[in-house]
Amino acid sequence: MVEGLYARIAKWTFVYPLLLVSSVVMLFPLAWTFSTSLKTAATVTLREVKLIPDPVQWSNYITIFEESPLILYTQNTMYMVVTSVIGGVVICALAGYAFARIAFPAREVLFYVLLSTMMLPHVVQIIPLFVIFDRMGLVGTFWPLIIPRLLGHNAFYIFLMRQFFRGIPLELSDAARMDGCTELGIWARIIIPNSKPVLAAVGIFSIQFAWNDFLSPLIYLGPKKELWTLALGLNAQKGFEGEITSLHKMMVISVYMIIPMLLVFAFGQKYMIEGVTFSGMKG
């Protein structure tokens, strides 16, 4: 695009500085969280904005493991993460393949059913599900959280997979079929190796979702402290009035919960952004 002189002046004197300043504003809450996590009970309540606290109490990150069962919470969260990834990457890929490549009369109808489930408000399903799991005596165990995930119960992931698989050339799978490959063989040997971007995107979304999920663990694990996930444990740190004196500890756990997500983001940024934009373009 040709830029006019005025447009160029406006861009460099006004728009760009604005963008820079507001990105600092966006980042500041995070920086402040980190800064607070290094404070002491006494310096947390000082009315001053010092991004580098005095003193810098790195030991907060060690004592928190003695004061709070973070390791246990992390372990519990990992059950959610692992099952989520398996369900997302394997089971949703199978379903996505069926919707993309196996001709069957009811396919389009089922696909619209799948799409319409994305619109359903979560609360409509939660209450009867709770009743069902309660009847089975499974409330207060991991099962109500794990089973839906293992069954690939996520319409969005299946949708992403299907859209991507449709782009893989038919000739590849036809050639494999000629060589005597079964559908499962084609899926495993042709489709999966050619779908790294979408598998990565779904894998990352699954990790993120399981790590961040709050409502389901709250409902099913609420009274069982020994089964809590990190999100529940962190929320419980909050006293009724957000006790000021222990704020730095809350921020330590927050940072502890943020860092894995930052790492996932750093490694998978490209795929995540492709996945997010893909949903907007084709949806």
Binding site: S23, T33, L151, H153, L215, L234, K238, I273, T277
Partner: protein, 310 residues
């Protein structure tokens, strides 16, 4: 899908099923886990919740059919109307605000300037954080006495900031601000849409003497209108269902000023075990979302253009 394909190398040893049968079996085998999950975790629960909506049920004694009593109760329930009002107020303010600011931001992030990759990452970052973390961080920032926001207000303008989360008047603003922080997802989608608008369109408009505002209204907006619709619907559906951030930030207080719809559903269902009443509430929300979605889609014909590469 030629007939040849069915006759694989090992075909002779296998039972000779017709291609159609084989594809049907394959289709359902691949889909079996999803179908199982769909039945168990979507279809049956939805039917069950519709049924529960007409019953009195506490998970201990069997459900007791009460007809429209739950709906009549809600009709006369002040807290129900309050929670609906809170949620709709939030939606009406937040959704347009989020939509406009994401689009403007996406346009700025589409400029060619140094270190744009880093800047984009910074704007996207808050949207990937765990909601519980976001909630706690904002509790700290909004703290009346020691929070960063009131500190800045005082230093910069000598304003004594309000007790954001503890005041009926300010709590909604606080909820909206904390929500806007995480607008990254929508921005990314807008950005991709903007990058798909062919440059020639702008050049042609410029030759016709269109200034920057004209180009925005007559080129950018029509070209990305399907994505505007998509972002609008997602934002609407999500903001009617806000739960976790509020649960962490305010628990609905003070005096129900931030008592969102789903908080009331949650309380009825899991704090008071009024599962029938909560199911009725859930269905009201479901119908509301459905109506709004249909409305958005119906009226979209007038302003959404499905031409071009988007």
């Amino acid at each position: 899908m030629s007939g040849m394909a069915a006759v694989g190398a090992g075909g002779a040893e296998r039972p000779r099923l017709s291609l159609r049968w084989r594809e049907a079996i394959n289709f359902y085998l691949f889909l079996a886990p999803w179908i199982l999950g769909f039945l168990a975790f979507t279809a049956i629960p939805i039917v069950a919740s519709l049924f529960l909506g007409f019953t009195k049920y506490n998970a201990i004694s069997p459900p007791d059919f009460v007809g429209l009593k739950n709906f009549r109760f809600l009709y006369n329930d002040q807290v129900f109307w309050k929670s609906l009002r809170v949620t709709l107020t939030y939606t009406v303010v937040f959704v347009p605000l989020q939509l406009v600011s994401s689009l403007l931001l996406a346009m700025l992030l589409n400029l060619r300037v140094p270190s744009m990759r880093t800047i984009r990452t910074i704007y996207y970052l808050p949207s990937i954080l765990p909601t519980v973390v976001t909630g706690l961080v904002w509790i700290w920032l909004f703290n009346a006495d020691f929070g960063l926001i009131n500190f800045f207000l005082y230093k910069a303008f000598e304003i004594r900031g309000p007790n954001w989360l503890g005041s009926e008047r300010w709590v909604m603003s606080a909820v909206i601000i904390s929500g806007l922080w995480a607008l990254g997802g929508g921005v990314i989608i807008f950005l991709a849409a903007l990058q798909n608008v062919p440059g020639e369109f702008y050049e042609a408009a410029e030759l016709d003497g269109a200034n920057i505002l004209h180009r925005f209204w007559h080129v950018t907006v029509p070209m990305i209108s399907p994505v505007i619709l998509y972002n609008l619907m997602i934002a609407m559906i999500l903001s009617l269902q806000v739960f976790t951030r509020i649960y962490v930030l305010t628990q609905g207080g003070p005096n129900y000023a931030s008592y969102f719809y789903n908080l009331y559903v949650y309380d009825n269902a899991f704090s008071y075990l009024k599962l029938g009443l909560a199911s009725a509430q859930a269905w009201i929300l479901f119908v509301l979302i459905l109506l709004l979605t249909v409305l958005a889609l119906r009226t979209s014909g007038r302003w959404v253009h499905y031409s071009g590469g988007v």
